[in-house]
C-alpha cells in the first residue's frame, strides 16, 4: 500500500474500532494513539518528501494510481507536492490537538470526528478530481451533526446554514469539475495530467474558472458567501471549531490553488480582478466586523474570515512570492486559529460565558491559559518571531510586486487589516485578561488541565517554529508553486 493511503486508512480503522469499544478510557487511548500515529506519519512523509524531492523533479511524488471506474476514467490517484505535505502536517497537528481538546466527549462524537479527518486527509492526497470531490463532501457532512448535536447556542440554525451553504458551493464545484473533465475530451480526471496535456478550451475556461473558484471559495470564506463561518464556528464545540477553522477552511484555499488556478491559468489571469475585489472585501470587512463583536468565538470567526480572505487574495496575485505567502498563511492561520479556539473552549468551559464584557482579570486566575491567549493574539496580529508575521509579510511583499495600480491599491487596502487586527486583538486581551475581576465567581476558576496544556503547547510550538524557521516551509512551498507559475506565464 502506498504510504499516503495510510492517511485515509488510519482514521478509517479508528472509526471502525470505535464501533467496538465502549469505555471512555479505551476511546481516549484509541484516539490518542491514532492521532499520534497520524502525526508521526505526517512527520515521516515530510522527511521522505524532502529526500525524494532532492532527486526527483516530478510535480507529484509518491504517486499511486488505481483504476476505480474506468468508464469515466475515475482513478483512486494519490500523490503529494510540498503544499500537500504541509497541509497534511497541519491537519495531523490539529487533529492531534483536537483530540486533547475534546477529552470528555462521547464515542459518537469521535466517530464523526474520524469521518471528518478521513475527508480532510483524503482531500489533500487526492490527485483525481472525482476522488478529491468525494473526500471534500465526506469532510463536510459530519459538520452538520458535530455542530447540531454537540454545539452550543443556536446550533440547529448554524449547523443547517453551514451545511447548506457549503453544499451550495459544492454544487458550483461539481458543475466545474464535470466541465473540466468533458471539455478536455473526457480522457482523464487526473489533475496533473490535465494541466500537462489537456488544456481547458478558452471559451470554457471563462465559465469553469469562476464556478470552480466560487465553489471552493465558499469554504474559504469568500465574501459574500462567508456568513456560514461566524455562526458555524460560534456554535461548534471546541475541537470542531479547531478543525473547521484550522483545516477545513484550508480546503477552500488549497482547492482554489490546485484546481481553479492550476487547471485554468488563462482565465485566472483575466478574471482574477473580480475575485481580488471580493477577497479584498473579505479581508477588510472580516477584520472590521471582528472589532465590534463581544463574543470571543465571533471575534475569532470574523478574524478567520479576514485571514482566510488574505489566503485567497494572495493566491489571486498569481506570483510566486504571494502564493508562497498564501500557503504560509494557511499554515499559520490554521495553527493560531486552532489555538484560539482551544483556549476559548477552555475558558468557556470554566466561565460559561464567551462575552468579553462579562469577564475580566483572568490573567491572575488562569495564568497559563491567559499567557497562551496573548501569544495567539500576538501571532495573529503579526509579531515577528511568530508564524503570522512571516506569512503576512510574504503576502504583502508579493502582492506589492505586481506593477499595476489596481493591484497595488488593493494591496494597500488589504494591509490596513493588520492595523485593525491589532485593534481587536489588543482590545479583547485588554478587556478580559487584564483589568478588574468582573465576576467574583471567576476567582475560584482553575487553570488548564494537563490534556488542555498538551493541546495548547503543541500548537504554540509549531507557531514559534514557523516564525523562527520560515525557510524550512517556504522552501518546500516555492518548489511546488513552480508548475503553477509555469502554467501562468
Amino acid at each position: 500500500m502506498n504510504i499516503l493511503s495510510l492517511f485515509v486508512a488510519i482514521p478509517t480503522v479508528m472509526l471502525l474500532l470505535l464501533f467496538c469499544i465502549k469505555s471512555q478510557n479505551a476511546i481516549r487511548a484509541l484516539m490518542v494513539a491514532g492521532s499520534s500515529a497520524l502525526l508521526l506519519l505526517a512527520g515521516v512523509v515530510t522527511f521522505m518528501f524532502l529526500q525524494e524531492r532532492a532527486v526527483n523533479p516530478d510535480v507529484m511524488l509518491f504517486v499511486s494510481d488505481t483504476v476505480w471506474y474506468e468508464a469515466l476514467n475515475i482513478h483512486y490517484a494519490v500523490g503529494v507536492d510540498g503544499i500537500s505535505v504541509l497541509m497534511l502536517g497541519l491537519s495531523a497537528i490539529i487533529m492531534f490537538t483536537g483530540v486533547f481538546s475534546s477529552w470528555n466527549m462521547e464515542r459518537s462524537f469521535f466517530m464523526w470526528f474520524c469521518l471528518l479527518t478521513i475527508g480532510v486527509f483524503g482531500f489533500f492526497i487526492s490527485l483525481d478530481l472525482f476522488t478529491m470531490f468525494l473526500f471534500y463532501e465526506v469532510a463536510l457532512i459530519p459538520m452538520y451533526l458535530l455542530i447540531g448535536v454537540w454545539g452550543t447556542g443556536k446550533k440547529e440554525y448554524s449547523a443547517m446554514k453551514l451545511t447548506l451553504m457549503l453544499m451550495g458551493g459544492s454544487a458550483f464545484l461539481l458543475t466545474g469539475i464535470l466541465g473540466i473533465y468533458f471539455t478536455t475530451g473526457g480522457t482523464t480526471m487526473n489533475i496533473v495530467e490535465i494541466a500537462k496535456n489537456h488544456i481547458v478550451p478558452m471559451a470554457h475556461q471563462y465559465w469553469i474558472f469562476p464556478v470552480t473558484f466560487l465553489g471552493f471559495g465558499v469554504l474559504g470564506a469568500l465574501f459574500p458567501f462567508h456568513t456560514w463561518s461566524p455562526d458555524g464556528h460560534a456554535s461548534a464545540p471546541t475541537s470542531v471549531s479547531m478543525l473547521h477553522a484550522g483545516v477545513l477552511m484550508k480546503l477552500g484555499g488549497y482547492g482554489c490553488f490546485r484546481v481553479a488556478i492550476f487547471l485554468m491559468p488563462q482565465a485566472a489571469q483575466e478574471l482574477s480582478w473580480i475575485f481580488l475585489i471580493l477577497t479584498g472585501i473579505s479581508v477588510v470587512y472580516g477584520a472590521l466586523s471582528a472589532v465590534v463583536q463581544t463574543d470571543l468565538k465571533y471575534i475569532n470567526a470574523y478574524s478567520s474570515v479576514s485571514h482566510c480572505g488574505l489566503v485567497l487574495f494572495a493566491i489571486l496575485m498569481l506570483n510566486r512570492t504571494a502564493m508562497t505567502g498564501a500557503v504560509l498563511q494557511m499554515l499559520s492561520h490554521g495553527l493560531m486559529t486552532a489555538l484560539f479556539f482551544a483556549l476559548i473552549g477552555l475558558i468557556y468551559g470554566r466561565t460559561h460565558t464567551r462575552d468579553i464584557r462579562e469577564m475580566g482579570g483572568l490573567m491572575k486566575i488562569m495564568p497559563f491559559a491567559s499567557v497562551c491567549y496573548v501569544i495567539a493574539g500576538l501571532a495573529s496580529l503579526g509579531l515577528p518571531g511568530l508564524s503570522g508575521f512571516v506569512a503576512e509579510m510574504t503576502i504583502f511583499v508579493g502582492s506589492f510586486q505586481e506593477q499595476d495600480t489596481f493591484r497595488r491599491i488593493l494591496t494597500l487596502i488589504a494591509t490596513t487589516s493588520i492595523v485593525v487586527t491589532a485593534v481587536y486583538i489588543l482590545r479583547t486581551v485588554g478587556k478580559f485578561l487584564y483589568g478588574e475581576l468582573v465576576n467574583p465567581e471567576h476567582a475560584n476558576l482553575t487553570d488548564a488541565t494537563w490534556y488542555e496544556r498538551v493541546s495548547v503547547a503543541v500548537l504554540i510550538l509549531f507557531i514559534v517554529a514557523i516564525g523562527v524557521l520560515p525557510n524550512f516551509s517556504s522552501n518546500i512551498i516555492s518548489d511546488s508553486i513552480a508548475p503553477v507559475i509555469a502554467g501562468l506565464r
Partner: protein, 498 residues
C-alpha cells in the same frame, strides 16, 4: 410456442409459477391452518428461487415476432424489480399479521403483488406499444387493490380509489396517443415506428408529422403518470400517504423503476429518431419535476407524503440520464435505480417498523430516535444520506454518474439546476436527521406503546425478516458505490441500446 420462446420468457414463466402456487395455496389452505403462517417464508423462498433461476439459461432474443424482447439488460432490470418486491415481502410481515382480519387475507397480498410484478415484466420486455399498454394495465390495476388493502381505513380506501381513477384517466390519454401514433406510422412495433419517423425528421422538427408529435406527447404523459413526473404527479402524495407503508415502498421503487425502464426502451427504440422532439420536452419536465418536487417536500410534516415528494424529485434526476441519450446515460439510469431502490427500501423499512409499533408517521415520531433506537436511526440516516447524494454512500456515485451523463452532452445548465436542487433536497433530508439526532425524544408517548427497554430507553424491535431486509439494504447502500464492479457490469449490459 417452442422451447426457445419459453427460455426467452423464462422469468415470466417462473413468476407465473410462483403466482399460481401462492394462488392455489391461498384458495385451498383451510382458514385456520398452519400453512398460512408459513406464507411469508414460503413466498420469499419461492421468489428467491425464481430470481436465481432467472440467472440460468441466459437466452436472449425476440418472441412473437418482435412483440416480446429479452436481452441481458432486460433480465437485469427484472432482477432489480425482483429485489424491490423481495424487500417488500420481507418488510410486510408484521403489518400483515397486525390483526386477525388482515392475517386471514395475506395470501391475497402476495398474489396481487406478484400479478403486478408480472405486468412490470411485460412493460420492460415489450417490443410493441400495444403490449406495453397491456403491461401497464396489468401492473396498475393490482396496485390500486394493494393501495386500498387496509380497506376499512378511510385513507387507504381513498388512496385506492384515487389511484384507479387517475390511472384509468392517464391510460386513456396514453391509449389515445397510441392511436395517433398508429395513424401516423401504421404500426405499433418499436422498430417500425422508429423507421417511419426517421423518414420524416430528415428536414427538421417542423416537418415531423403532427400526429406523431401529439401521439408522443400523450404517450409521455401516460408514462409520466406512472413515474410521477410533474405535472402528472398529483396522485402521488395522497396515494403514498394513504396506502399501507409496504405498498408505498413498492410504489416508490418497483412501480417507478418499471415505468422508467419501459420509457428507456420506448424512447430509444421507438422514438429514437424523434430525439430532437422529445429532448426539449424532457428538459422542461426535468426542471419542473425536480424543482417542484423539492419545494413541496419542504413543507411536509408527514413522512410518507414527504417521501412521495422526495421520490418525485428523484424521478427527475433519473430522467436526466435518459435525456442524455447515450449508453453512459442508460447505465447511469439503471445504476441509479438500483441505488435508489436500496436506499428507499431501507427508509421505508424503518418507517414501517416505527409505524407498526407506534402507529405514527409524522416527523415527531422520529424525534430522538438516535438515542432511543440507535440502529434504526443509523439505517434511516444512511438511507437519507444516500438519497441526498452524500459520499461514501451509493447515492453520491449514482448522482455523479447521472450528472456526468448529462454533462457529456454539454447540458451544463441543466446539471447546475439539478445540483442546486440537491442542496434544497439536502435541507429536507437533514430535517429527518435533525429530528433523529438533535431533537430530544418524545419518550412519554412512545413508551406507552413500545416495549420499554433498559434505563428508560425505548427500543423498538423489528421482526427478523424486516431486519434481514434492513441489513441487506444498508450494506448495499454503503458498498454499492465503493464496489465499482456493479457499475461496470451494468455498463457492459447497456451496450448497444442505441
Amino acid at each position: 410456442m417452442n422451447l426457445g420462446s419459453f427460455l426467452i420468457m423464462r422469468q415470466e414463466v417462473g413468476l407465473l409459477l410462483v403466482f399460481l402456487i401462492m394462488l392455489v395455496l391461498d384458495i385451498f389452505a383451510p382458514e385456520k391452518s398452519k400453512i398460512r403462517n408459513t406464507f411469508q417464508p414460503l413466498v420469499c423462498i419461492l421468489f428467491f428461487i425464481h430470481t436465481s433461476l432467472g440467472f440460468l439459461f441466459p437466452s436472449q432474443g425476440e418472441a412473437f415476432g418482435g412483440m416480446y424482447v429479452t436481452s441481458t439488460l432486460t433480465t437485469w432490470m427484472k432482477h432489480i424489480l425482483d429485489l424491490g418486491v423481495l424487500f417488500m415481502f420481507l418488510q410486510s410481515g408484521s403489518w400483515l399479521n397486525s390483526n386477525e382480519a388482515m392475517a386471514r387475507r395475506k395470501g391475497e397480498f402476495y398474489v396481487i403483488s406478484l400479478a403486478t410484478l408480472l405486468g412490470m415484466y411485460i412493460m420492460v420486455s415489450a417490443g410493441n406499444l400495444m403490449l406495453l399498454y397491456i403491461g401497464i394495465e396489468t401492473a396498475s390495476l393490482p396496485v390500486a387493490v394493494l393501495a386500498a388493502y387496509n380497506k376499512y381505513q378511510h385513507k387507504s380506501a381513498e388512496a385506492g380509489a384515487k389511484y384507479v381513477m387517475l390511472s384509468a384517466f392517464s391510460s386513456g390519454i396514453m391509449l389515445f396517443g397510441l392511436s395517433f401514433l398508429y395513424a401516423a406510422a401504421g404500426t405499433l412495433y418499436y422498430g417500425d415506428i422508429n423507421l417511419s419517423a426517421a423518414g420524416s425528421t430528415t428536414v427538421g422538427v417542423g416537418s415531423v408529422d403532427l400526429f406523431t408529435i401529439a401521439g408522443l406527447v400523450m404517450f409521455l404523459s401516460g408514462l409520466g403518470f406512472k413515474i410521477s413526473l410533474v405535472p402528472f404527479h398529483l396522485w402521488t402524495a395522497d396515494v403514498y400517504e394513504g396506502a399501507p407503508t409496504s405498498i408505498t415502498a413498492f410504489l416508490s421503487v418497483a412501480s417507478k423503476a418499471a415505468a422508467c425502464f419501459a420509457l428507456i426502451f420506448a424512447l430509444y427504440n421507438a422514438f429514437g429518431s424523434l430525439f430532437i422532439v422529445w429532448k426539449p420536452l424532457l428538459w422542461a419536465l426535468i426542471v419542473i419535476t425536480i424543482t417542484l418536487g423539492n419545494i413541496f417536500a419542504l413543507r411536509q410534516k408527514e413522512i410518507k407524503r414527504f417521501f412521495a415528494f422526495s421520490s418525485i424529485s428523484q424521478a427527475g434526476y433519473i430522467m436526466l440520464g435518459i435525456l442524455s441519450g447515450t449508453q453512459q446515460g442508460m447505465t447511469a439510469v439503471v445504476y441509479y435505480m438500483l441505488v435508489y431502490l436500496f436506499a428507499n427500501m431501507a427508509a421505508f423499512g424503518v418507517i414501517s417498523v416505527i409505524e407498526n409499533k407506534t402507529g405514527r408517521t409524522d416527523f415527531g415520531a422520529y424525534n430522538g430516535l438516535g438515542k432511543t433506537n440507535p440502529v434504526l436511526a443509523l439505517v434511516m440516516m444512511f438511507a437519507v444520506f444516500s438519497l441526498a447524494g452524500i459520499p461514501p454512500f451509493g447515492g453520491f456515485f449514482s448522482k455523479f454518474f447521472i450528472f456526468a451523463a448529462a454533462a457529456q452532452q454539454s447540458e451544463y445548465l441543466l446539471v447546475f439546476i439539478a445540483l442546486l436542487n440537491t442542496v434544497v433536497s439536502l435541507y429536507y433530508y437533514l430535517l429527518i436527521v435533525r429530528a433523529m439526532y438533535i431533537r430530544p425524544a418524545e419518550t412519554a408517548e412512545i413508551t406507552k406503546i413500545a416495549d420499554a427497554g433498559t434505563a428508560g430507553m425505548v427500543r423498538i424491535k423489528a421482526d427478523s425478516y424486516t431486519n434481514i431486509s434492513l441489513f441487506v439494504c444498508t450494506g448495499a447502500v454503503i458498498l454499492v458505490g465503493i464496489a465499482s464492479f456493479i457499475f461496470r457490469n451494468i455498463d457492459g449490459l447497456t451496450f448497444g441500446i442505441r
